[in-house]
């Protein structure tokens, strides 16, 4: 059932993303062509247009992530979605996976578009080309890459889930849900900032006594220590995401009240 839900989610979003991303790539290619032909005015117009499309790509990705969840689950469309023989977890996962995929595609298309338009040697394509010999990576470097990519992905999921949780929390109210979701989001950001400041001040003021065994470990395994720190960070970020997910599920299961 998850596959079927994702299929419809891709259909609903693809009809906007596919033309948008195609337009960006076509404009980038034409702009590059105009640049090579030393055709100044069309080149400038092309760069301006492509820049606008790049901005639009990011904004639309964010808006669609929000709108798909809100419209499909919290307005009349919810009557259809929540009476399907599918559990709430799958409904959320389908939205989450598809939103994540489009965000990654958006990043990739924008990078590609910039690479196409860049003519200088420092272009992105050049950077990729010059570092293409991945077999030179040591095991540690490979592991670091995997860990950093995992952290990046889980952080992206967190970001999307935090939007879902804020919208789901607005189910406590019967009116002005969009404005309330936004207020909850702003409040949440402020709360996280305060927590971060408090945590940082506690850590910097605490007399952390590292026992001898740990000190020896850190000195003899500097890479191992960084791996452990990265894994710890990954766990914390994943726990935050899991909390957002659980909150969203709880609200949709128990507090749903479609108008």
């Amino acid at each position: 059932m998850l596959g079927k839900l994702m299929k419809y989610e891709f259909k609903a979003t693809g009809r906007i993303f596919v033309p948008l991303f195609s337009a960006l790539l076509i404009v980038s290619a034409v702009t590059r062509l105009m640049g090579s032909l030393r055709s100044t005015a069309p080149h400038v117009i092309g760069v301006t247009l492509a820049s606008m499309l790049i901005a639009a790509a990011f904004v639309i990705t964010l808006i669609l992530t929000i709108q798909r969840f809100y419209k499909n689950f919290m307005t009349n469309e919810g009557y259809l979605m929540f009476t399907l023989p599918v559990n709430t977890d799958r409904l959320i996962w389908a939205k989450l996976i598809v939103a994540t995929v489009w965000t990654l595609v958006c990043g990739a298309v924008v990078s590609l578009s910039i690479a196409i338009m860049s003519t200088s040697d420092t272009s992105l394509l050049h950077i990729f080309r010059s570092n293409a010999d991945w077999s030179m990576l040591t095991l540690d470097e490979g592991l670091f890459s995997v860990e950093l990519i995992a952290i990046f992905l889980v952080t992206l999921l967190d970001g999307i889930l935090s939007l879902y949780a804020c919208m789901a929390l607005s189910l406590y109210f019967n009116k002005h849900r969009i404005a309330i979701s936004f207020a909850i989001y702003v409040g949440m950001i402020i709360l996280f900032q305060i927590l971060a400041v408090i945590a940082a001040s506690i850590i910097s003021n605490a007399n952390i006594s590292i026992n001898e065994g740990l000190r020896v470990f850190i000195d003899t395994h500097p890479n191992g220590t960084v791996h452990m720190a990265l894994l710890l960070a990954l766990l914390i970020i994943a726990a935050v995401g899991a909390a957002f997910f659980a909150l969203t599920r709880h609200m949709l299961k128990n507090k749903l009240n479609l108008q």
């Binding site: 059932m1 499909n72 929540f82 023989p85 128990n254 479609l258």
Partner: protein
């Protein structure tokens, strides 16, 4: 065994009580009218059966199960509101229902669309409000469900279509299945009903077999309803 049983089912929204401890059961193969004025709790009851609301107190069981994935497989629900994604075509919705409901009979849906003159290739956005309602009802009735929950199925359509829809409801459903129709257009649905439930301020004021009612009180359901819910004149 009852297809639907609720006991002491209660739903409060803040200080407002929408359903006040109702208890009854429905047997398979019955067409039941859930009748009452606006705000009597009809829609709240139907939403509770579909798991779209959680009861404040009491229980509702469908085929002995609490509302969930398993009950959604056997309940076909027509909400009051249009739930379409506007960008879809009618045939996209047929594919959607085929994908998610194993009891959906696409051929029957196509047949019903044809008899109402609706093109499967039509964009839902371009349909009138009444036509959207018809499409939604066709999707719901083309399932071979055990329980149909129809919330105001004939509210927005003209009398000719109303007749077709009621005919569809009694003709197309499996005789083992039960249908609950919530409405205030009683005269229209009366001919198809086996039993009626009158709801008033979240409570059941009457739950009776239609034939028994006619014999005992010598009144049509419509007359009885007007009597029961008479508004006081100054």
């Amino acid at each position: 065994m009852s297809i639907l049983t609720c006991s002491n089912l209660t739903k409060r929204f803040g200080s407002t009580t929408a359903l006040d401890g109702i208890s009854f059961s429905i047997e398979p193969g019955r067409v039941v009218g859930l009748l009452g004025p606006n705000g009597s709790g009809k829609t709240t009851f139907i939403k509770l059966c579909n798991g779209l609301l959680t009861p404040t107190d009491g229980t509702v069981k469908i085929d002995s199960m609490s509302p969930g994935v398993e009950t959604k497989k056997i309940v076909s629900y027509l909400p009051e509101n249009s739930y379409f994604n506007d960008w879809m075509k009618v045939q996209d919705m047929l594919a959607f229902f085929s994908d998610f409901y194993s009891d959906f009979d696409a051929a029957r849906a196509v047949e019903m669309l044809r008899s109402l003159g609706i093109a499967p290739s039509a964009q839902i956005k371009s349909l009138s409000k009444g036509t959207k309602e018809k499409v939604q009802l066709i999707l719901v009735m083309a399932r071979k469900a055990k329980l149909y929950l129809l919330d105001e199925p004939i509210g927005g359509v003209d009398p000719a279509v109303r007749d077709y829809i009621l005919h569809t409801i009694i003709k197309n459903y499996n005789p083992e299945a039960s249908v609950i129709i919530s409405t205030h257009l009683i005269a229209d649905v009366e001919p198809v009903l086996d039993e009626v439930i009158f709801l008033k301020n979240g409570q059941i004021v009457l739950h009776e077999d239609v034939d028994t009612l006619r014999e005992e009180k010598n009144m049509s359901v419509d007359q009885l309803f007007r009597e029961e819910f008479k508004c006081l004149e100054n």
